[in-house]
């Protein structure tokens, strides 16, 4: 029953024209303010669950606008009739007054709230809950760490960080977990947020209608760099996704050229290897993100800086400048050494 209600809802059966006007009027100001920006906005949905929630939102705002407007009008009447006692036109009638309190304070709220409740929590909730295991085609496992997201594809050897790729229009089972503190995975255009809690495995549906890039962020305060723990979800056409995944499974692309080889030697000889993993090498650290395909990513440090130009060099020279409090120390390397390191890392496609 819930499913068919949902389907009807999605077919946009709106009520009578008068109510339509009122709802749009009430929500117009907010809509104007909100429209036109926000790649991290729940009000710009790009999937069914997010779309259902957005519609629910507008309906609730419409009702809230009517209630609020009504109360303000009543207060205005109170001011305009401040020299007379009693209600306008009706005069002093205490049972009407009590009746008004009962109707506006009990009866109408009960009716409206039952409606909102039934719709939100019995209908829409059905679609935003964790997907049934059998209903999804792919599983992505995201582990929250202070302060980056580790992304794995169970059943494959693929590991990356902060940038999740999924095939477009495919139901993906997103598993959220963590081994340190509570974080929260939130990609507003695609679905609600889900906390990652130590000792628990939480799941939501990840689904995108259209190819594109969707921005998300950690949504549970997790310490010093909570503000810089963002992520991207890339929805790719299936062929491109499969190619990407195959690439992610491969180990390190061996360094080409003396500078890159020198950079790899510096990487292994210094602290880098004790915190980072580069599959296919001796570097097996698990404190920082997996760097095997670093070049593939569009950003560094959880979307803090772009992965182009001299950002990587400046990051390695002074990680604390961009993300103070993060766990990567300044390594005390010379500029020449860092340049070699960068050459090596930029070859990790």
């Amino acid at each position: 029953m819930a499913r068919s209600t949902l389907r009807r809802f999605r077919q946009d059966r709106l009520p009578s024209p008068l109510i339509r006007v009122a709802l749009w009027g009430a929500a117009a100001a907010v809509a104007l303010a909100v429209a036109g920006c926000g790649e991290q906005s729940p009000l710009k949905p790009e999937s069914d669950p997010a779309r259902d929630i957005a519609k629910l939102t507008w309906w609730m705002f419409g009702i809230a606008g009517v209630v609020f407007g009504g109360a303000v009008v009543m207060l205005l009447i109170g001011w305009l009739t401040r020299r007379e006692e009693g209600l306008p036109f009706i005069g002093k009638r205490s049972n009407v007054e009590t009746g008004a309190v009962v109707v506006f304070g009990i009866v109408i709220p009960v009716v409206v709230l039952i409606g909102v409740f039934a719709f939100a929590n019995l209908v829409v909730l059905d679609d935003t809950d964790a997907p049934k295991a059998s209903s999804t085609e792919l599983t992505v496992e995201v582990t929250g760490n202070q302060w980056f997201w580790e992304v794995r594809y169970p059943g494959t050897k693929a590991v990356t960080a902060n940038e999740i790729h999924i095939p477009v229009r495919t139901r993906v089972n997103l598993v959220g977990k963590t081994d340190d503190v509570i974080h929260s995975i939130w990609i507003p255009q695609l679905n609600r947020k889900i906390d990652t809690v130590p000792g628990h495995r939480n799941r939501i549906l990840l689904y995108a209608d259209k190819p594109g890039r969707y921005r998300g962020q950690c949504a549970e305060f997790c310490g010093l760099q909570h503000a810089h723990m963002s992520m991207y979800v890339f929805a790719d056409p299936p062929e491109r996704f499969r190619a990407w995944l195959r690439n992610m499974e491969r180990p390190e692309a061996p360094p080409a050229g003396p500078s890159a080889r020198g950079g790899k030697r510096i990487f292994m000889a210094n602290q880098c290897a004790s915190c980072h993993t580069i599959r296919g090498t001796a570097a097996r650290g698990d404190i920082g993100p997996d760097l095997t395909h670093l070049r593939d990513r569009t950003t560094l440090a959880g979307l803090t800086i772009p992965n182009r130009g001299d950002y990587l060099l400046r990051w390695i020279r002074d990680p604390q400048h961009f993300k103070p409090g993060n766990k990567m120390p300044a390594l005390g390397l010379s500029d020449a050494q860092i340049q070699k390191l960068v050459t090596y890392l930029e070859g990790l496609r």
Partner: protein, 635 residues
Amino acid sequence: MATMPAPLARQRTERLQRIWEEPKGLVGWLTTVDHKRIGLMFLFTSLAFFAAGGVEALLIRTQLIRPDNGLLSPGAFNEAMTMHGVTMIFLVVVPMSIGAFGNYLLPLMIGARDLAFPRMNALSFWIYVASGLFVYTGLAIGSAPDAGWFDYLPLGSKQYSPGPNVDFYTLGLIFNGISSTATAVNLIVTTFKLRAPGMSLNRMPLFCYAMLATSFALVFALPPLNTALIFLELDRALGFHFFDVTKGGDPLLWQHLFWIFGHPEVYIIILPAFGIATAIIPTFARRKMVAFPLVALAEILVAFIGFGVWAHHMFAVGLDTITTIYFAAASLIIVIPSGIQLFAWITTIVTGRPRFKTPLLWIVGFIVLFLLGGLSGVTFAAIPFDQQLTDTYYVVAHFHYVIFGAAVFPLLGGMFYWFPKVTGRMYHERAGQASFWLSFVGMNLTFFPMHIVGLLGMPRRQYTYPHGLGWDGYNLVETIGSYLLAAGLLMVVTNLAVSLFRGVPAGNDPFGGDTLEWSTTSPPPSYNFAVIPRVTSPYAMWDREDRQADQRDLAGPAERVLDEGHETPASSVLDADWDEILEMPAKSWSPILLAAALAAGFTMLLTRHYVIAAVVALLALVVLGGWHWKEPQEA
């Protein structure tokens, strides 16, 4: 009544004054047990903490005025936002509501001469001050609590918060909780037992119902918090594993325990404000409250239902569906008693002949802001919506509308309303109205855009944010709004401070109030009432015959004058039949000494000197024993 008191009447009032007056000077204040003095001490202390919390807020807003700002480091920001929350909730709003307003006004409104336990009242205050200083010592040494005001685990555990920051939080809040619990118990017993004989429960003012509901909520809400804090401190200090998933614990246990406290806490924050609104509205609307019994019942229901909704703070955590649906349903139910009160207030204003003076303006502002905050709260009962917008600025907007708009606005209105009673002088009306409008505009400018920026995806508790997500303009407006709000609040304080010295003398009852405090002089005498008042309705001050009968009693039969000692009547709980005459304690050093001992004990716990802490605890028990040694009749 401007008639000259007869000689017998004057004799009696002078005798009462001699019996009840307390020493002037510092010693008088340190040993006071007078609820009015204690109420004022609570007020000034909470205003000082309000300023501190306000500075923390301005720091936050200034840091967020533009993207990638560098005013505060992430660590400093985390301390500022945590301290802002802890200060405002535990050190400002609750103490101001129950410790200042409840303390000062409850005995006056019920016709009593003090609270039921005057020395415990003083203890509440000294513990409050000590606990506030305890937490702020953390700030002073650069280790303020920094894991958020609800300090989720494992972030707040020793492993991820190794410094003493979170220990200041846990021990400081346990310490502070003793104060609130003691005040709550005091207010309940006073309301039950010390009402003027004849003031049966249905003749009690609505303000007293609100304080009663608040106090019951505190009695049952603080213990879960204490359990959580004790567990946390044991984990941190002694290596226990309540919240440690690798050893059979669960971080969600903290969340459940915290929110079982935390949700009733927000009703504790707002109920006294409802009480203030129900005191101001009849006076300025010049009519009795519409649907009085419904409003009284609604106030109690809010406190009661508030205990059943806690997990609506945990909708994104991964609880099972049935559980989340139950909590959403319960959260919707609580809308009903709030709605009843809202429409009763509005209807009373509409059907009365309202005078929109400063106190009523703050209450009208409160109604508008409470409605907005309540509506955004209701949207959270739609679980999928909550799961999108929780932990964003939309939630920050919601709770500031209900805390600032619905709890602080009435407190400010109440400060104006009772200013003449407490000081004997009138505040400046035009400046008062201007300060309201400035604060109202500033408040909305600060917090309304937060709804929008949350809907644009901005999470909360970030020390900075990137350019390009559409958040910049709104944050700028919010910061400007916060400065306007600060200016409005400064205007309030300046008005009251200047009026304290230069205000026009106010007289006993400048507004035509409906409750008994307006029958005393301004300020009230140390003994509150020369004659324990006769009461036949909840609007005692509007019952002229009863007030005239009191005047005749003062010059005539002595039974309700009670001037043979430090006396006040005790009556039965429901019908207020006169039961006995109580001899009340007078000034005492025990409360401040006990508070000092407890402060030393908590400090020893903080520094892990457990043996010394145990010794101090024994010392505290000795002080407690000494406190009870001298009996009332030996005074």
